[in-house]
């Protein structure tokens, strides 16, 4: 008798063939097809996503380069504007200073004039008052000097005495 280990049994051959065929067709239709399709679809979608990401990255690089340029330009513009503003400011300050100076001079001169006028007026007033005062004092002295008849006489006498009738 043959070694049973290496003698294929016909029944097992028939059943294996049958079962394997059924397994193959059912799995092929209901398992492998949808699974392989899903895996492929996903791989395609992942590839698409990666491609998109790469493209986006490139766009981002381009965009950031653009941004850099824009930023530089903006910076330059800003510097320019700052420079302009500084000039304008300086000019304005200088102008203002000049105007203020003239104005101040004008105010000072008018003030000086006013002071001069006031001084003159005050001096005039003082002179008048001194004059009035002098007259009053002279009047009082005269009144004192000519209070009596004798005094008047003496005065006339002295005055007459002085008259040199040559």
């Amino acid at each position: 008798m043959n070694n049973p280990l290496v003698t294929p049994e016909l029944g097992l051959i028939v059943w294996t063939t049958l079962v394997f065929c059924i397994l193959f067709f059912l799995l092929a239709k209901f398992a492998w097809k949808p699974i392989l399709k899903a895996v492929k679809d996903r791989e395609a979608s992942i590839e698409d996503a990666l491609g998109l990401a790469e493209q986006t990255r490139k766009e981002m690089v381009a965009l950031s380069a653009n941004n850099e340029a824009l930023l530089n330009k903006a910076r330059e513009e800003r510097d320019e504007m700052l420079k302009d503003a500084r000039t304008v400011k300086d000019k304005m300050i200088n102008d203002a200073k000049a105007i203020a100076n003239t104005e101040a001079e004008r105010i000072i001169s008018s003030a000086k004039e006013a002071i001069q006028n006031e001084k003159l007026a005050a001096i005039t007033d003082l002179k008048n008052q001194v004059a009035t005062l002098s007259i009053e004092i002279a009047e009082k002295i005269l009144k004192q000097e000519l209070a009596t008849a004798e005094k008047q006489r003496s005065l006339i006498d002295s005055a007459v005495g002085e008259i040199n009738l040559n």
Binding site: W15, I35, D41, R42
Partner: protein
């Protein structure tokens, strides 16, 4: 090998036990078969006395025990306890000259030595070394080998039952996986799909695409995937004692069928260049061409033949090594021996897990390679 009258000891089956009832109820759901009680005829094969004296001295012989574990069987044996054998009967389906005969393997009452003949449709059947023979009508009570014929045996044997279970498991796993994608679309896989997808992509990218080529590999993907997972699952299930344990992919009939599929698929897809290389090797002088023709023709068969032998030998060898290690305990008749046998058997079992995957991979890889050579577009120099 051994003469016909050699085998394990007579096994009796305990009726009305729980396992049998359970298993019977499961089986009756799966298979439509006649389970009526059979009439027995006590018969005695000649030379049986030798065996009885042999088994009388209680010496454990590991070879028949291992061989019966590695070989196919007509019932699913679980264990022996108190001289009783506990096993799941399987349907016997025979095609005889009088037509189809079916009965449950329990009708043999665990006889594996041709003692019990099952009478059915006026024919007598005996089981010897897990193969069923028909007794000729004129067979005497003490029959001999010339009184038996072999009917066409289409029984659901242990291996076929294991194969059906593995197929059910394959359907469960991969329809679940397919269902995941149907439900969720092409998203990142989760659960069972995430594990299986890695393997499917492995088969696709590292086996099919590499060996068959970008243009044609998709056509062969279903076959390669089926064969890969069929072999792998059955290799793995064969390593589980009791619930698996059937040596399906270590059975030459199964590997024969699988390699025959590869043979057929390779050759029906063979293109002009493939056949050209077989019949009229381009670029060789005419006498060499004639010399190469028979070599190439034999090569067509030897390639799948090597596939058949490789898978069969690898898986059977693994089973034999594990069983031999466990047999040490019975050879030395000492439980202390398990301290040696169990770690070694564990080591080999873990190694077999690797072999289970590796052999599935190698079978699929070589199938893809053969298909690849058959469909390859050769540049003309």
């Amino acid at each position: 090998m051994q003469p016909i009258l050699r085998g394990g000891k007579l096994r009796l089956m305990l009726k009305n036990n729980f396992i049998k009832t359970l298993v019977f109820s499961i089986l009756s759901l799966i298979f439509v078969c006649s389970t009526q009680a059979q009439d027995y005829v006590e018969i005695t094969p000649k030379h049986d006395e030798n065996h009885k004296t042999e088994s009388g001295d209680e010496k454990y012989d590991p070879i028949p025990a291992i061989m019966s574990h590695v070989a196919d069987a007509h019932d699913w044996h679980f264990f022996d306890y108190n001289e009783h054998s506990y096993s799941m009967p399987l349907p016997v389906i025979l095609w005889t000259e009088k037509g189809l005969v079916t009965f449950m393997s329990s009708a043999f009452h665990h006889d594996n030595l041709g003692h019990h003949a099952v009478e059915k449709n006026g024919m007598r059947f005996i089981k010897f070394n897990d193969r069923i023979y028909q007794l000729k009508d004129n067979a005497p009570v003490e029959y001999d080998i010339e009184y038996v014929t072999k009917p066409l045996d289409l029984s659901i044997t242990k291996n076929i039952f294991a194969m059906l279970m593995s197929v059910a498991l394959l359907f469960f796993v991969f329809l679940k996986t397919a269902n995941f994608y149907k439900k969720n679309g092409a998203v990142a896989p989760k659960g069972i799909a995430s594990f299986m997808e890695a393997l499917i992509v492995f088969v696709r990218d590292d086996i099919a695409r590499v060996n068959i080529g970008e243009k044609k590999y998709m056509k062969f993907m279903p076959y390669l995937l089926t064969i890969f997972f069929f072999i792998w699952f059955n290799n793995m299930l064969g390593l589980i004692p009791w619930i698996g344990g059937a040596n399906l992919t270590g059975n030459i009939a199964v590997t024969l069928v699988l390699s025959a599929f590869t043979l057929v698929i390779t050759n029906i897809n063979g293109n002009k260049a493939y056949w050209g290389h077989i019949f009229w090797m381009p670029g060789a002088p005419a006498p060499v061409k004639i010399l190469l023709l028979p070599i190439e023709l034999v090569g067509v068969l030897t390639k799948p033949f090597a596939l058949m032998i490789r898978l069969f030998a690898n898986i059977t060898a693994g089973h034999i090594v594990v069983l031999s290690l466990i047999s040490l305990i019975f050879i030395f008749k000492s439980i202390a021996m398990s301290a040696v046998a169990v770690p070694f058997a564990l080591f080999i079992s873990v190694l077999e897990l690797l072999v289970a995957f590796l052999q599935a991979y190698v079978f699929t890889l070589l199938s893809a390679l053969f298909i690849g050579t058959a469909v390859a577009e050769h540049e003309h120099h």
